[in-house]
């Protein structure tokens, strides 16, 4: 069989990852300390797991309604209003999805016509470009700058807009930079968008993980609620990555279109996970606070120490990543990560894996134990000292 001729052209053209070589080495190195995976190191809090188990004991093993259990959508509506001052009706404005990822995919597929452009700030999580292409759209990448703390500026946005622009992706708080957009930053963006027909896909999966201030959504701004699609989920806030629980809140016509697609492609999100999610919404605010405080401790330690050992690192205000600049070493991101991994057995991710703007940076995830983080820092110190010696500095 010539499978190559069978496969869809678009999917063939999508590269699995630009840094395959690095991942191949990483895969072999099973005893490395990993600050590579962007995932909470916490296990889902027990009361949430227990609710999932209990639902199985009671025999709740059937499909739920397409949009998700009524009870869960009601809880999500309360949660969004309680935590972020965002107000959505459980009937018609909320759809429960298989992780935030499905919500992103659905958004792009229901909005894009062939040739429509999607503005994607980079470095950012890797899914937006490929999903845009599969939906027939054209990704337009905007490189965020370290000197702007990786925020999107109105000038950058303006320069990227064309008559074909349909969607702006706002992935904040950011994986991989830890950057956020504050209200005043969003206001600048809103000002540009106001006279256009552009929809905002606001990926707020890290909304609960901000340090020193609460997250502000684009949908919080006047006149922006109508043109914003808010994607969120339980993976990062409640340490529930494996449950695959996400949701999307948006104007009714958009949710209706997404629900149509979701019912054909997915039917309904996993029932056990939905029961667990109800418990997470009802009694999980304390868990969020605890985990956030824990991440914050590690964040401060990591930022302070990376700067101390000579890796310039701006203070990330969200998510659980630091994104130090490694340009002073004279190495590319990939060289740096490869050598660091081989010499000191610590995995961090080359910044260029997250798009062109990431070159010259590496991503380290501090959702790891304090012990691992401390050990990683001391090995990084070694690595840099040896590197400087070799380079005769």
């Amino acid at each position: 069989m010539n499978y190559d001729s069978l496969l869809n052209d678009k999917i063939k053209n999508i590269k699995p990852s630009g840094i395959r070589k690095f991942f191949d080495i990483l895969e072999e190195m099973t005893d490395a300390i990993s600050l590579g995976i962007g995932e909470p190191d916490f296990v889902t809090p027990w009361h949430i797991r227990d609710a999932g188990i209990y639902s199985l004991e009671k025999g709740h093993t059937k499909y739920t309604s397409n949009a998700g259990m009524l009870e869960l959508r009601r809880e999500i509506a309360r949660y969004m209003s309680r935590r972020f001052d965002l107000h959505y009706e459980h009937a018609g404005q909320i759809l429960v999805t298989v992780g935030g990822s499905e919500a992103i995919d659905l958004t792009l597929r229901v909005l894009l016509n062939p040739g429509d452009e999607v503005i994607i700030p980079v470095p950012s999580f890797v899914c937006y470009g490929p999903l845009t292409e599969m939906a027939g759209g054209v990704p337009v990448y905007v490189e965020l700058k370290g000197e702007n703390q990786f925020r999107l500026t109105p000038e950058q946005l303006k320069a990227a807009i064309t008559p074909k622009t349909k969607v702006l992706v706002l992935p904040f708080p950011s994986n991989p930079t830890g950057g956020i957009m504050e209200r005043k930053d969003l206001e600048g963006i809103a000002e540009v968008l106001k006279d256009t027909n552009i929809m905002v896909l606001s990926d707020e999966i890290y909304a609960e993980l901000t340090y020193g201030q609460r997250h502000v959504s684009m949908a919080n701004l006047p006149e922006m609620y109508e043109r914003t699609i808010v994607v969120n989920g339980f993976s990062k806030s409640h340490a529930m990555t494996g449950w695959r629980m996400g949701y999307v809140c948006a104007p009714k016509p958009v949710i209706a279109a997404m629900t149509k697609l979701h019912q054909f492609g997915i039917m309904s999100a996993p029932t056990t996970s939905q029961y667990a999610a109800v418990e997470a919404m009802r009694n999980g605010d304390g868990d969020i606070a605890n985990m956030c405080e824990e991440y914050d401790s590690r964040r401060r330690y990591l930022v302070e120490n990376l700067n101390r050992i000579g890796l310039e690192c701006f203070e990330p205000k969200g998510a659980f990543y630091v994104f130090p600049c490694i340009k002073s070493t004279g190495l590319t991101s990939e060289e740096f990560c490869q050598q660091f991994l081989m010499e000191e057995k610590v995995a961090v991710i080359p910044g260029n894996a997250f798009g062109p703007g990431g070159e010259g940076y590496v991503r380290a995830c501090y959702a790891s134990s304090m012990k691992d983080i401390a050990e990683a820092v001391s090995r990084m110190d070694n690595f840099l000292t040896n590197l400087r010696r070799r380079q005769g500095k």
Binding site: E27, G38, T241, M370
Partner: protein
């Protein structure tokens, strides 16, 4: 922000530098605070939590409910002191409810524990009764679960 004490309670083997960065203090401040709290008894000590079953050391641990003749708190304190001075006593608490004191003791054998209760504890003036419960299995202590976590086999993911 995690307080210094919370950080220590989680893991007291962390360096002053680690504690300082996490608590938002300087190393010098951490050092001073620790000295102060060690001196005034806020921090009683630093110990490891050990699963002795792993090294096959035979020990028997018992929880003993002790009833004493009714008296004032100061009276309880006096009797308590006469009990907790024994090295065998690991932990001890004054309780509300059906009995007055919980005494947790460890010994090498069942006989040793029984002997302690019969010969040391029960005869103390004011002790009116004891009930000894032997601990059969330890599941969790100080937020730590006994037993090794099962290794998880997972292929590389990129998120």
């Amino acid at each position: 922000m995690n307080s210094l004490l919370e950080l220590l309670e989680q893991d007291c083997t962390q360096s002053h530098a680690q504690l300082a960065a996490q608590a938002g203090m300087t190393e010098q401040e951490v050092k001073q605070e620790l000295e102060r709290m060690e001196k005034d008894g806020t921090i009683l000590g630093y110990q490891a939590i050990i699963d002795w079953d792993k090294v096959k050391r035979e020990t028997v641990t018992a929880l003993i409910e002790v009833k004493v003749v009714p008296q004032s708190i100061a009276g309880f304190d006096r009797i308590a002191q006469r009990i907790y001075q024994y090295d065998e006593v690991e932990s001890m608490y004054l309780m509300s409810g059906a009995f007055d004191l919980t005494v947790i003791i460890s010994g090498r054998t069942l006989r040793e524990v029984a002997q302690f209760v019969g010969e040391r504890l029960a005869p103390i003036e004011g002790v009116t009764g004891t009930a000894t419960h032997f601990i059969l299995k330890k599941y969790k202590e100080k937020h730590l679960v006994f037993g090794k976590p099962e290794p998880e086999e997972r292929e590389l993911i990129f998120v």
